[in-house]
């Protein structure tokens, strides 16, 4: 039994933002796979829900004229995984999608809910970080685009203002064209698990050197994060085992790992170093480079 005291549904974004403006106590529900769990656990009580599931336009995935990939917040992980555009241009996102939960969860859980839930372990987040994704936030009064790195404020805390809804996730062509990538979800199980460490790497090559490398990590700190020190180091370096090893080492400097009963700091940092290298090696091949041995 859930402690739900009110429920309404919107059919358009403007209807939803209007309802939100009227009643600030409304809690948005998309797939419900985080919200309902919180209610079940008693973390939130006496909830009034506003469902977004009837807003069909929010489930679309498309490529805009300028090449920007636009992912509707209500796209489910199953949809993300099967989407032909994403498969072609940003496969690291579809890899992230299929690594998430199990089939039932992927059929209902949305990418918007994943991001708005604010968890460092969100499987879409490290890839969206590596891709410099931007989030379109809409309220009755306004509309803004926020870079995902500014969206995560702390564990479970995001930069949604009262009355705002996430409608779309944008990835611009400059951030994906010519890049190869790789997503590694390191978890204790092959399904139905939260990552111990999530690593998403994209890279662009210039001949035998790196032109650009971007590394997103999940569960390496209280929010998803980028390994800027390693990213600054990479451009112009030879694509070699040595420079990949150095990038792995530098990535550890950006991680904010700590010891918990789930894993020790030592082990987490070791994983960052190792898995960043593994992901980068595959990303190099996906970017058209030669396999490093």
């Amino acid at each position: 039994m859930y402690d739900i005291i009110g429920y309404c549904e919107a059919e358009t974004v403007s209807e939803a933002t209007a309802l939100l403006a009227q009643n600030p106590n409304l809690r948005l529900i998309a797939g419900g796979t985080d919200v309902l769990i919180k209610m079940h656990g008693g973390q939130i009580e006496a909830v009034e829900l506003l469902s977004l599931r009837k807003i069909k336009s929010l489930a679309e995935i498309r490529k805009a004229e300028d090449g920007t990939v636009v992912i509707g917040a209500m796209a489910t992980f199953t949809k993300v995984f099967n989407d032909p555009i994403l498969r072609e241009v940003i496969p690291i996102l579809t890899e992230a999608a299929i690594s998430m939960g199990g089939p039932q969860i992927r059929n209902i859980a949305t990418i918007g809910g994943n991001v708005c839930n604010g968890a460092t372990s969100a499987d879409s987040a490290s890839s969206l970080f590596a891709l410099n994704a931007q989030l379109k936030l809409v309220s009755q009064q306004s509309e803004r685009l926020v870079p995902i790195r500014e969206f995560y404020l702390g564990p479970g805390r995001v930069a949604l203002k009262p009355g705002e809804i996430l409608t779309e996730i944008h990835i611009s062509p400059a951030d994906y064209q010519g890049f190869g990538g790789q997503y590694i979800k390191f978890a204790m199980r092959e399904a139905m698990d939260i990552a111990t460490l999530a690593v998403s790497v994209v890279c662009k090559l210039h001949g035998k050197t790196f032109e650009e490398v971007r590394i997103g990590l999940g569960v390496a700190g209280p929010t998803p994060l980028r390994c800027l020190e390693a990213e600054v180091y990479a451009p112009g370096k030879d694509v070699s085992v040595e420079s990949v090893a150095e990038i792995g080492k530098l990535a550890v400097n950006s991680a904010k790992a700590r010891t918990s009963w789930r894993a020790s700091k030592d082990y987490r940092e070791h994983l960052v170093e190792e898995l960043v290298q593994r992901a980068l090696k595959t990303a190099i091949v996906n970017a058209g480079g030669e396999q490093l041995v």
Partner: protein, 787 residues
Amino acid sequence: MAYTVVGKSVRRVDAVAKVTGKAKYTDDFYERDMLVGKILHSPYAHAIIKSIDVSKAKALPGVEAVLTYKDLPRINYATSLPGMIGDVLDDAEDEEERIKFGTAGHPYSLDPSHRDVEDRHILAKKARFVGDAIAAVVATDELIAAKALKLIEVEYEVLEALTSTEAALKEGAPLIHEGRASNVLASGGFAIGDIEEAFKESDHIFEGEYETSIVQHCHMENQTSYAYQDMDGRIVIVTSTQIPQIVRRVVAQALGIPWGRVRVIKPYVGGGFGNKQDVAIEPLNAAMTLAVGGRPVKIELSREESMTDTRTRHAFKFKIKTGINQDGKLIGVHITAISNTGAYASHGHSIAGSAGGKFRYLYPTKALKYDPITVYTNLPVAGAMRGYGCPQIFYAFESHLEDIAKRLNIDPIEIRRKNFVEVGYVDPVSKNKVTSCSIRECIDKGKALIKWDEKKALYKEQSGHKLRGLGMACFSYASGTYPVALELAGARIVLNQDGSVQLQIGATDTGQGSDTVFGQMVAEVLGLPMDMVHVLSTQDTDISPFDTGCYASRQTYVSGMAVEKAALEVKEKILGFAASMTDIPVNRIDLVDQKIVFKHSGESVLTLEQVAMQSYYDLLRAKPITSDISNNARINAIPFGVTFAEVEVDIKTGKIEVLEIYNVHDSGTIVNPKMAEGQVQGGVSMGIGYALSEQLLFDEVTGKALNNNLLDYKLPTIMDTPDIGVAFVENHEPTGPFGVKSLGEPPTITPAPAIRNAVLDATGVSFNRLPMNPQRVFEGFKEAGLI
């Protein structure tokens, strides 16, 4: 031996009902106006309730009753029903005046010294683990009940939490149970031969220490029950249990009422694995219905509650000292064990006892000394779990033996072959005799399946960060508990007018498929097709024949004896009746294919249906044919088996992947090969979780569980489970019905040591602590200098 139905993979009798959702589990039954019961659990591992104020909870609309330790039956007070709880309700503060009871699913013993420790109240005044039941609410719905729990005001005096056996055993440690001399629940094992002499005779002495973790059953269906008082004031409890007869007895004991005043009904059960061989929620459920005038009240534990507030597997710490000769012959073994039983006794020292008892059969040595102690701690209560101490002891010993083989440079399979038991061996303690043993053939089969020799040669030269290795481990077990406990089973058969039969058994099918194998046994004896045997799956203590229940891998062997006997009696009566109808001497006829036939020619004399109709309606002779049998099995049979595993270890991340795994069992006749294969696969997957990922974790200071949910507790999913190979060496067991030995628990025993030994083979590192999860393995490799 040639059988027609036994040995065939007939379809489970409940298959269609289960896949179509028609099979009803406890939660599928409704009573009108059913109330909901919820439990307030202690947030402290060790604390005394100074005061408890339930007035606000009681005042909440929709709350029908609130119970605390003050509302429990007092010793010798409860004599009449209904309204008993009200009658005895007073505010005596002394916990000791309230009835204490034991919860273990053991048959009652007439010998008081052999009974389970009675150390528990329905609701506690002193909390002994985080989760201990402190108070309970009965309300009109779940949300109101949950809100009412929050309104109960409890003032605790918090005591030091003893979250390890070391802390509990320390001089001057606070007592978890007042009035005891220490926190040791029990100790004592056995000694065969003179261990010191044996060590002196041995060429080598080896010592090792091994540790297993607390894990949980994670049966699909959480504990669920509902209770009400019937028209006569008797308490009826419908519950998801392995042991209806024992639940009845324990509820009556806990309430201090005559046993006949309780009726327990067991519908379909969604798994138990030993956790439901214990009485966890039913006494409280009974108290709840009494508190509301007998109205129906339901308790449905959440996963979080089920994982910490019912039972867990005992964690063991072993020290083993072994004397062995140069050629690998074991001379003397000394095992000491500390078993962590948590806050209450439950099955207590029986687990440690069973571990040593079942271990004895595999490698008889000149001297074997076993010194276990079982210790109370302020952690959740450990009870029965599949294998009953054996996954622990075989993990320890099979790891130890592997290390010895490596040190002596003897092939790990050869060292085991040198020491295996022989048929005819009589165990000096139990006096049980090994009447069949195919462990050697099991090993041959397993070796071939995994391509042992080929791969061993291949993996000699490996490089890179992914290394492969092979390992194996062996076990012995038992078929039931004889001679430790009573092995009584009952079966009842009724021949219907159409020549079909009803079979009623007291043994409970909790998902493992016993209903089907009993049906096969009856079909075999009576020459019936399976669809002419109607097995009643529900056990009802008012109606079903007496049987102690589902545990100890006993039912196919022990209850099977009763079923066979009942079927033979019906057959005899059918033939007798046919003889009286035809005047053919009974020794000339037989029952084949639903016909009475001449033995000499096979010529049909009558149909079974004709006999059945006459037995009901013949105006003179009518006497329906039935049997109602009880069988006291004063015998045991020892099953054996082996696990072979191949792993790949990622040295850099500490991840172990099981590439191939085979379990080969010597369980006598396999009654239903398809179902047996499923039983083994389930058991092996449980063993893989035990080896690699599962562990209930607790805060060392507060004793609070950190991961009592299925996200944080790493039960393997199907994606983490390799294809599990299953094989049997079928060797007719002379003492078993149709030649069977047990198979229920054994599959879980050896995957962990086999995987551990394969990791040793791959990496040279011995992991002597379970589970071997990536964090631990990383630490081990770091220590070994591999990273």
